[in-house]
C-alpha cells in the first residue's frame, strides 16, 4: 500500500475516504476538507475523526458545560480551572491539590477487568500530568440489578480491575459508591477519581512552547490497543450483539504505570519539562495536537521513531493507538540527556520523536515523508460544536405526579421494624465491605478516613497535619425525577459528606453520565442537570475544576437514569480533628440537625418496599446546606462532636445503623413530638446530619446551633447493644450487622 502523503492527497482530491466508518458526519468531513484546502491524508483523517468524536471533542455537551465557567463563583482557591487535564486548588501552606473524576463505562462492560483497570490508569495519568503526586483514588460505580446474572460477571471483574490496578500503583482507595439499578444493566457506570498533591510551583500544563524544544514520548511501547476505541466506543451506541465488531481492548500494565509515576516525579523534581501531557483516549493524536494547540508555535513529529510493540502498525494506527502508560513531554534541548537518564534509571523507554517549531502547523513525518500538515487548534480545540435539540420528555409530568408520599406505609411498629431491616439489607443500602476490602486503603501511610466513612481523607503534610477530604455522590433516581434538582442534590450530598468529616469544601469535579444526546429527552436531562449543577456551585461557592462527560449510555431506546456524579474536595487544617461516623462512646447525645419533612420521592424506602420511582425528589436548600456545613466544621474544629454522619438515601435509620455498627455501640432514640416515626426514620429530606455530642459539650453545641438558626433536635443517646426506637421497636446490633453485611457476599461472591 502506498503511503498517503500530504503531497499525494493534494494530487488525488477525489479519492474515496472512509469518513463515515470512522464516525464522522458528512458535514464534518466537508469541514476538514475546507480547513485543509484539500482532502485529508489517511493520517489526518484518523486524527480528526478521533479528536472530533464525542468523547474527545465534547461536541454535544460543550454549549452546556460553558456555564461552569460563566457562573463560576468568586474563588481565589482555584489555581487552574477547566480546560486542563485536571483543575488545581490551593489548599494552603503552599500546597495545591488536583483531582478529577472520569468515566470508563463502555470499555468496562465489554471487558470488566481491563476496562476498569485502564480507567484508573487513565485518570491517574491526568493527575500526574499536572505535576502532582497521585495520593488517592475513588471509584463511583453503578451496576444493573444486584441479582441479575450479568452483574455477577461485570461487578467482580470491575472491582478486581480497580483493585488490581490501583493496589499495584500504591494508591489508597479512600471511597466511592456502589449502586445497583436495573437501568444500568447494559450500561454499567465505572467512574474513577484521582487526587494528587503538589506545591504551587510544581504545577505543569499541557502546552508546547519554545521553538527547538524536544518532544519526548516515554512509557510503554505503542501497540494496536483500542485502535478506533475512542470513536467507536464512545460515539456510537454500543451494540453487544456483534462480537466481531468489538474493537481491540486496551490492557493495562500497572507496574509500568508505577514506574511512569516515579520516573515522572523525579523528572519534575529536577525541573526538566516545559509542558507535559498524558496519553489517553486518542493517544498520540490527542497529545501532539493538544500540546501544539495550547502552546505557541508548531510541532514537527517523526512518527517512525515511536517505539512499537507491533512492527506492522501503520502510521494511522500509531496515531490512533490507545496503548496505556505513555506520556509526552516537551523538554529543552539541554535537558534531554538528563531526562533520558532518569527514564533509563526507572526502566522506562523514552524517545525524542520531534520538536517544537516556530511555525503554526502540526507536521508529522513517516520515514521522511510528510503525512500530516494541520493547524493543531482545528484538531484539538476547535472541533464541531452542536446545539442539540432538547425537550422536556412527555412522561416527566406523569412521573412527578406519581407521588411516593401516597404509598402504603407500615401499619404497625412490627411492620416498621421489618421494613427497616429490609431497607438496611437491600443491595443499595447494605455494607459494601466485600468490595472495598479488595482495595488497599492503607498504602502511603496517610489515610485518615476511608470507607465506610462519609468522605475519604488523607494527610498531605506530616508536620502540620494538613489534610484533604473528598466525597463523591450521585443519585440517578432523584435526577430522573428532576434532573435540575437531582444534580444539586448530588452536589449537596457530596458537600455535606465532606463537611461532616470536618473538612471545608473548596471545589468540585464531576462526571456526567447520560444516555444518547441525539434523544431530545436525554439532552433536556443533560441541560437541566448542568444548569442545576452550575447554579448550585455558584450558591455554595465551590467552582467546577473539571470533569468528564459520558454519553450514549443506553441500550436501544432506553437510556440510563441521568446520573451526574459530583466529587467535592475539602481541606482540613489538622487531620486529628476529623470527625468519624462511628458512635464510640456511651452516653453521648444524639442530635438531628436540619428539618425533616415528608419527602419519600426517589427514596430508598420507596424502591425497596414498593419498587416505586415517582413524585419529586427532596427539596434542595443550598443556603441551609452551607449553614449545616459551617456548623459541622466548627463543631469538628472545636471538639464539640465525637461523631457525625450525613443523612441521605435511607434516611435517619440508615445513618444510625451505620454509625452504630461502625462504633459497635447501640442507640436509644426518642421520637420527637409532632413527627411520625416512619417519616422520621425514612424521609430523605436534604440538609440533615446526625451528630454525637459529649454531654460536656452539649450546651456549647446547642448554643451554636441556636445562634446560627440551625434546627437541632435531641433525639437520643448512644447506649446499649441495640438500636432502640422507643415506643416502636428494638433491633440488636448483631441482627442489624447480619442484615447489613450478608447481602452483597450472598449475591455476588
Amino acid at each position: 500500500m502506498t503511503l498517503d502523503t500530504v503531497k499525494h492527497a493534494g494530487e488525488t482530491p477525489d479519492t474515496e475516504q472512509p469518513w463515515a466508518e470512522l464516525g464522522l458526519k458528512q458535514d464534518e468531513y466537508e469541514r476538514i476538507r475546507s480547513i485543509l484546502g484539500r482532502r485529508p491524508t489517511g493520517a489526518e483523517l484518523a486524527m480528526y475523526s478521533v479528536m472530533w468524536s464525542e468523547h474527545c471533542s465534547y461536541k454535544s455537551s460543550k454549549v452546556h458545560l460553558r456555564q461552569f465557567g460563566e457562573k463560576a463563583p468568586e474563588n481565589d482557591a482555584l489555581l487552574v480551572g477547566i480546560g486542563e487535564n485536571a483543575g488545581v486548588v490551593d489548599v494552603g501552606q503552599g500546597y495545591a491539590v488536583t483531582f478529577k473524576v472520569e468515566s470508563h463505562n463502555h470499555p468496562s462492560y465489554i471487558e470488566p477487568y481491563q476496562g476498569a483497570a485502564t480507567g484508573v490508569g487513565g485518570i491517574v495519568r491526568d493527575i500526574l500530568a499536572m505535576g502532582a503526586r497521585p495520593v488517592a483514588v475513588m471509584d463511583p460505580l453503578r451496576f444493573g440489578a444486584a441479582d441479575h446474572p450479568d452483574t455477577k460477571r461485570v461487578l467482580p471483574g470491575v472491582v478486581a480491575g480497580i483493585g488490581g490496578y490501583g493496589n499495584c500503583l500504591g494508591l489508597p482507595n479512600i471511597g466511592g459508591e456502589v449502586v445497583f439499578d436495573a437501568c444500568y444493566q447494559g450500561n454499567p457506570l465505572v467512574n474513577a477519581l484521582c487526587v494528587g498533591v503538589m506545591k504551587h510551583e510544581d504545577i505543569h500544563l499541557a502546552k508546547a512552547s519554545g521553538a527547538g524544544n524536544k518532544v519526548i514520548l516515554y512509557g510503554a511501547r505503542t501497540g494496536g490497543d483500542g485502535i478506533g476505541g475512542v470513536s467507536v466506543l464512545a460515539s456510537e451506541t454500543f451494540d453487544d450483539s456483534k462480537p466481531t465488531k468489538r474493537p481491540a481492548v486496551q490492557v493495562g500494565d500497572p507496574f509500568q504505570e508505577k514506574l511512569l509515576i516515579e520516573c515522572t516525579l523525579e523528572i519534575f523534581r529536577e525541573d526538566l519539562v516545559d509542558g507535559i501531557q498524558d496519553l489517553g483516549g486518542a493517544g498520540l493524536s490527542c497529545a501532539t495536537s493538544e500540546l501544539a494547540s495550547a502552546g505557541s508555535g508548531g510541532m514537527r513529529v517523526e512518527l517512525d521513531r515511536v517505539h512499537l510493540r507491533d512492527a506492522t502498525l501503520s502510521p494511522e494506527e500509531i496515531l490512533m493507538s490507545e496503548s496505556q502508560e505513555r506520556m509526552c513531554a516537551i523538554v529543552e534541548p539541554g535537558k534531554v540527556d538528563r531526562f533520558l537518564e532518569i527514564c533509563e534509571k526507572w526502566d522506562v523507554i523514552a524517545t525524542v520523536i520531534g520538536e517544537v517549531t516556530d511555525g503554526e502547523r502540526l507536521e508529522i513525518f513517516w520515514h521522511g515523508e510528510q503525512i500530516v500538515d494541520v493547524p493543531p487548534r482545528t484538531v484539538a480545540h476547535e472541533g464541531p460544536v452542536y446545539e442539540r435539540p432538547y425537550a422536556r420528555p412527555d412522561w416527566q409530568d406523569a412521573l412527578q405526579a406519581d407521588d411516593a408520599n401516597k404509598l402504603a406505609r407500615p401499619a404497625t411498629a412490627e411492620e416498621l421494624r421489618e421494613q427497616v431491616l429490609k431497607v438496611i439489607s437491600s443491595p443499595n443500602q447494605a455494607s459494601k465491605s466485600w468490595i472495598t476490602d479488595q482495595y488497599d486503603r492503607f498504602v502511603q501511610g496517610n489515610t485518615v478516613l476511608a470507607q465506610p466513612e462519609d468522605s475519604g481523607m488523607v494527610r498531605i503534610d506530616e508536620d502540620t497535619n494538613l489534610g484533604v477530604a473528598v466525597a463523591t455522590d450521585g443519585n440517578g433516581r432523584y435526577a430522573k425525577l428532576d434532573p435540575y434538582a437531582g444534580a444539586q442534590l448530588a452536589l449537596a450530598e457530596s458537600y455535606r459528606n465532606v463537611a461532616a468529616s470536618g473538612a471545608r469544601p473548596l471545589a468540585i469535579s464531576n462526571c456526567l453520565n447520560f444516555g444518547s444526546p441525539e434523544d431530545p429527552a436525554v439532552m433536556w436531562q443533560f441541560a437541566e442537570a448542568t444548569r442545576g449543577l452550575a447554579d448550585g456551585c455558584l450558591t455554595l461557592g465551590t467552582p467546577v475544576t473539571g470533569g468528564n462527560v459520558s454519553l450514549y449510555n443506553q441500550t436501544g431506546e432506553t437510556a440510563i437514569h441521568p446520573t451526574p456524579v459530583v466529587a467535592v474536595l475539602g481541606v482540613i487544617d489538622d487531620v486529628n480533628r476529623r470527625t468519624p461516623i462511628a458512635f464510640s462512646d456511651e452516653g453521648h447525645l444524639l442530635y438531628l440537625l436540619g428539618d425533616t419533612k415528608e419527602e419519600l420521592g426517589g427514596s430508598a424506602w420507596s424502591q425497596v418496599v414498593h419498587d416505586h420511582l415517582g413524585g419529586l425528589p427532596p427539596a434542595v436548600d443550598l443556603d441551609r446546606e452551607k449553614l449545616l456545613g459551617e456548623i459541622l466544621i466548627s463543631a469538628s474544629r472545636d471538639g464539640m462532636v465525637d461523631a457525625a454522619h450525613d443523612l441521605s438515601d435511607g434516611g435517619l435509620i440508615q445513618a444510625l445503623a451505620e454509625s452504630c455498627l461502625r462504633g459497635g455501640k447501640g442507640a436509644r432514640v426518642v421520637v420527637p413530638d409532632g413527627i411520625d416515626p416512619f417519616v422520621l426514620l425514612f424521609s430523605e429530606s436534604a440538609g440533615r446530619a446526625v451528630v454525637a455530642v459529649p454531654r460536656s459539650e452539649e450546651l456549647r453545641f446547642t448554643d451554636m446551633c441556636g445562634a446560627r438558626g440551625l434546627p437541632a433536635a435531641r433525639i437520643g443517646v448512644v447506649d446499649g447493644e441495640a438500636i432502640d426506637i422507643q415506643g416502636q421497636f428494638s433491633i440488636p446490633l448483631a441482627e442489624l450487622r447480619e442484615a447489613h453485611e450478608a447481602t452483597i457476599p450472598a449475591l455476588i461472591a
Binding site: E111, G223, G224, D225, P243, A248, D253, D347
Partner: protein, 81 residues
C-alpha cells in the same frame, strides 16, 4: 480417567505485561537469546468417561465461554496422552 489440556494465551496483538516482565529479566539472569516471552494459562481437566468428539465439543464450548476471555484471549484444547 483422561486428561484434557486447555491452553489459554493472550491474543498476539494484546499487551502481555507478565511475559514482558519475564523477558526483560532474563538477560540479567544470564539467559540470552530469548526474543519474546508470552505467559498464559494452562488448565488440566480430568474428564470422567470417554473423551469422544462430543466430550471435546463440550470442553471446547467451556473454554470459549468460561476458561478463556475471547475478547482478549485465544485457546487450544487437546487430549493429553
Amino acid at each position: 480417567m483422561a486428561r484434557v489440556v486447555v491452553d489459554v494465551m493472550l491474543k498476539p496483538e494484546i499487551l502481555d505485561p507478565q511475559g514482558q516482565a519475564v523477558q526483560r529479566a532474563l538477560p540479567r539472569l544470564g539467559f540470552e537469546g530469548i526474543a519474546d516471552v508470552r505467559q498464559g494459562k494452562r488448565f488440566e481437566l480430568e474428564v470422567e468417561g470417554p473423551v469422544d468428539d462430543a466430550a471435546l465439543a463440550r470442553i471446547h464450548e467451556m473454554a470459549e465461554t468460561f476458561l478463556a476471555n475471547t475478547v482478549i484471549e485465544n485457546f487450544t484444547v487437546r487430549v493429553d496422552s
